[in-house]
Amino acid sequence: MSELSGYGGSGPLSHLPGTSAAPQPANLADLLERVLDKGIVIAGDIRINLLDIELLTIRIRLLIASVDRAREMGIDWWEHDPSLSSNRRDLALENQHLRERIARLETSGRAPAVPEDAEEYDPAEAPDRDTPPARTTPRTRRSPRTGLP
């Protein structure tokens, strides 16, 4: 059998007139599609849950295929998706804390009696709230807000 030049599907190798064959290393999305989803399926002795893989594939397809090319195009959303970027997880947590905090502040802001609210709210803050102490809003900043006429 004759050897096929460039065999291996390592990306679009053919530069055909009239078609765009971007020169690039193997496109991971294409690879995953074939290596994870295709090929002979034999159960083997070890059970690997293919459903897990398929779910993962979708993620990965979105995540890493052509990352560099995507970056060049300014597509970098995954860097802002906390679930896809482990070092952003604490940021997500912080966001959540802040959101809860805003919700609480807004609720308390709607309370009818401002001075009572402020009195009741502030002392309770430190011991009861799950907010990290370091991020506790200083009173000086809350007072103007809850004290709005």
Binding site: G6, P12, G44, A65
Partner: protein, 266 residues
């Protein structure tokens, strides 16, 4: 190998009997390859450590994108290297046996089916052809004719109507392109021994700003490769609203699933 850490047998390809792996080629664990022989068939395999390649560890590793990419590329590297010189049936990722004997028993058990599959892909290669919506949308219609756009219409309403019309034109163009992509697939399938459509990839995965409209795979006789490419070129001329992208040649990943056999070609 009793003195060594326990291993599992990872299968890469099934090929004709008597094949051996080229020296220097290594697998997903960096391991050398060896042949597992059955009647009339050989599987090329690697002995991979159970500490990393057993049910639990693999499941854990699969959640690690970096590990997965590395392993997928390694698996593919072996498969594509072997496919260069002989017809091979690529195995799906992570087909693992406890040992070579168990793998050999499988070769024996499924001999007829595997032999038929091997015969079917011999002398053929897989090409991928994707179609994207062309970057150049059809020019906006000279649509001064919209009766609602009379001067008396309030500016806000006119703006919304214009937007609506533009949106409708884009949708029509998209629909037209999708129909064209289907025609491309039908035409290419005629130049191929077999054809399948993979799911369309999201634009985040393709790196292309335009939506994908076709993600086809075609099993093509090696001797007809040039004709297949000519068909692609002709189709890209015929459908200027599409951008066609060819990938390959691939080992016949998309045409070896047992369910593909005796099945209905599209």
């Amino acid at each position: 190998m009793s003195a060594h850490p326990p291993t599992n047998t990872w299968l890469y390809v099934i090929t004709e009997a008597g094949r051996s792996a080229p020296p220097g080629l290594t697998g997903v664990a960096g391991e050398p390859l060896h042949a597992v022989s059955g009647p009339g068939l050989t599987a090329l395999a690697g002995a991979v450590p159970r500490s990393d390649f057993d049910e639990g560890p693999v499941r854990t590793h699969l959640e690690d994108a970096v590990w997965l990419e590395h392993a997928v590329r390694a698996h593919h590297h072996v498969v594509s290297s072997l496919a260069r010189t002989a017809p091979v049936l690529p195995l799906r990722f992570a087909v693992l046996y406890r040992d070579d004997q168990r793998a050999a028993a499988m070769l024996m058990e499924r001999r007829d089916e595997l032999t038929a599959a091997l015969r079917r892909i011999a002398g053929r290669v897989e090409w991928g052809v994707k179609a994207y919506l062309g970057p150049a949308d059809p020019p906006p219609d000279v649509d001064g004719g919209d009766p609602r756009q009379d001067p008396s219409t309030r500016p806000g309403t006119a703006y919304l109507l214009r937007r609506q019309a533009r949106h409708r034109r884009q949708e029509q163009a998209h629909q037209q392109a999708a129909n064209d992509a289907l025609r491309v697939h039908t035409a290419l399938a005629r130049s191929a021994a077999s054809a399948v459509c993979h799911p369309l990839q999201q634009s985040g995965a393709t790196g292309s700003a335009e939506p994908m409209l076709l993600n086809g795979a075609y099993l093509v006789e090696q001797t007809l490769t040039a004709a297949f490419h000519e068909a692609v070129v002709a189709l890209s001329t015929r459908f200027p609203g599409l951008r066609l992208e060819t990938t390959g040649p691939w080992p016949p990943y998309s045409f070896t699933a047992v369910s593909d056999f005796g099945g209905d070609p599209p």
